[in-house]
Symmetry: none
Subunit: 197 residues, 4 copies
């Protein structure tokens, strides 16, 4: 551990934050392997050993970013479960709120989202975890009579994660839609489908 793990004054905290922020950019832009510590520290205006004052290794700083992403996202997903006894008319709006919160988070730091969703080796695992949470929410909501019963919620949950992931980059990141709009449109699609009514 060396000096890592000792108390840090405000200067140290600032240095570490700067390194984290630059690392986020670099990892998101160039991927893990193409990101060089030498480059990060150069942009941060410190030397290589300083980097190792705050992070164990290249893997460690990357992991710190991924873990933060995962925690935030799973928390938001958990919070999106709907209570029972809701008026069916309010359903679309209520679902959209949860989804919108997720899109807000994903939109907050594009670079971090890229890392968590596409760059990290855990990306797949994270998406599965989110899908699990969503599936569990959907099943319980299905039991509450909010949704039709003849559909496999595992498929819906996985599909929803795919939709979120894809629209995040194609629509949200490009500024084509705002989180709330996107949430509303997805809810519309998933609730009512494409059929000509």
């Amino acid at each position: 551990m060396g000096q890592r793990g000792r108390k840090q004054g405000s200067i140290g905290v600032k240095s570490k934050a700067k390194l984290l922020s630059i690392a986020t950019d670099e990892f998101a832009t160039n991927g893990f392997h193409e990101t060089k510590i030498s480059n990060i520290v150069k942009k941060a205006g410190v030397t290589q050993p300083t980097f190792y004052l705050y992070f164990h290794s290249k893997e460690a700083i990357f992991q710190e970013l991924v873990s933060h992403f995962r925690t935030k996202l799973t928390d938001l997903t958990k919070e999106s479960r709907l209570e029972s006894g809701l008026d069916v008319n309010t359903l679309p709006g209520r679902i959209a709120v949860g989804l919108s919160a997720i899109f807000h988070f994903l939109n907050e730091d594009h670079q971090l989202t890229k890392i968590g969703f596409f760059i990290s080796t855990e990306a797949d695992d994270i998406k599965s975890q989110i899908a699990d949470l969503i599936a569990s929410n959907l099943v319980s909501e299905q039991k509450d009579g909010y949704f039709r019963k003849d559909i496999d919620m595992r498929i819906v949950a996985d599909g929803l994660v795919g939709v979120i992931e894809r629209l995040t980059v194609t629509s949200l990141f490009k500024g084509l839609k705002k989180p709330d709009e996107l949430a509303r449109e997805i809810v519309d699609l998933f609730l009512y489908g494409l059929q000509n009514q």
Copy 2:
């Protein structure tokens, strides 16, 4: 004329095919950077210079795999456009056919699919291209009156690609659903939605 301007006899063809096949496995399993040429040639039973007889570079062999994937997938997508004047009742089945063909292809070579969809830098680009094609199909099908008009087909197309991508790994690769089932369920979801009718 093969790679690098040399004529290749059957031995050369065999070596090249072997290298390609092993490379597919390695890239899919370990990613681009963790895949070492030294490892590929060891498993293929040839030396490093032999590798360079068939491929310009590590990038080149990787690109060969990705391009193949992209071509096959875009072709299949193009073929899935529906002609006009269809009976609306046959619609779900007809859509499912196209989708099923795509899942069949994705299921054919898991490793190649992983490369094209998740490992390659172009993954995002490929998905966008597929989404473009699907969007164009959907819009024209929408004009044919097959779908409701008050929905943004860009969103639907991107979403569909996300659904395909995600369910490919979570369901198809794990053998939980067959291509046809998966196609049918997705069509069901996208046509009729989740609402309790």
Copy 3:
């Protein structure tokens, strides 16, 4: 005046002593290069700059240990010279006394002995110095008629140092023999040899 020209109060003295003691353990256990200042200070509960308050450098603290060892050992060796006019019958006992004192010292602090005898670059030099002193003792004792004249006392002295060094680790440190026993047995061997009389 202490190290580096500063007066040292009792706290400083304690810190320095602690550093020295921990350094002894570390150097003896891990060797010079494997011993990290960062490790020493961590175990001592101080920071790196504090270390440099008491010692110029890693070399300096090491040197302090080695010098102490050397001084003590050479002093003991000098004291072991026998006066002339001794009764030949008391000879073995008298020699053993000197040798025993040396073993006592070597046994006092195993870690320090390891450093002085095996780890330091000067180890060889120290042993040569001891051998010189012993040789000079032996030659003068030889002139006093205590030993046979047809033997090269340089060889005997060097050999004796080798014996001391080796038996220190193989016998003394393992607690197999006490200093006095060891001294007596060595004297027996060196005086009378292995021959079947």
Copy 4:
């Protein structure tokens, strides 16, 4: 392993031998840590990767040297055991022969001897192993009636190893004595002792 372990032509063998020889010098002169691979390859006229073509690591090349030393020395020691039924008058000569062979080997490559006896971490272990072999020889020779029975052969063996080690550097390496002389003098000392007869 990379390319290591493949068949090597005569050029490769030469490169490896050169690296080994230079490494021996460097390790013996500067110790393990002060020896830099960069220095070894510079002196060998090759680049760093070439080094790793032949050796796994710095540790590995060092180990190769130490193992060779250990094997040679233990073999020689085993061969020095005396058969039973010898004329007691030939004893000193016969013992000296074995000892002389050992000194010849130690004198052959001073640098390698330094590594095996003083630089390697295993040095102590090697000496113990040699002492074990010698002890076993001595005990069996003692049973054959070649030596007095009232002496602990463990002590003699360890002592002898110390004597060998020390005289190797102080006498042999400096050219003060030849292997045979040295062997003879040591035998004289160990058989008859210092006493004035």
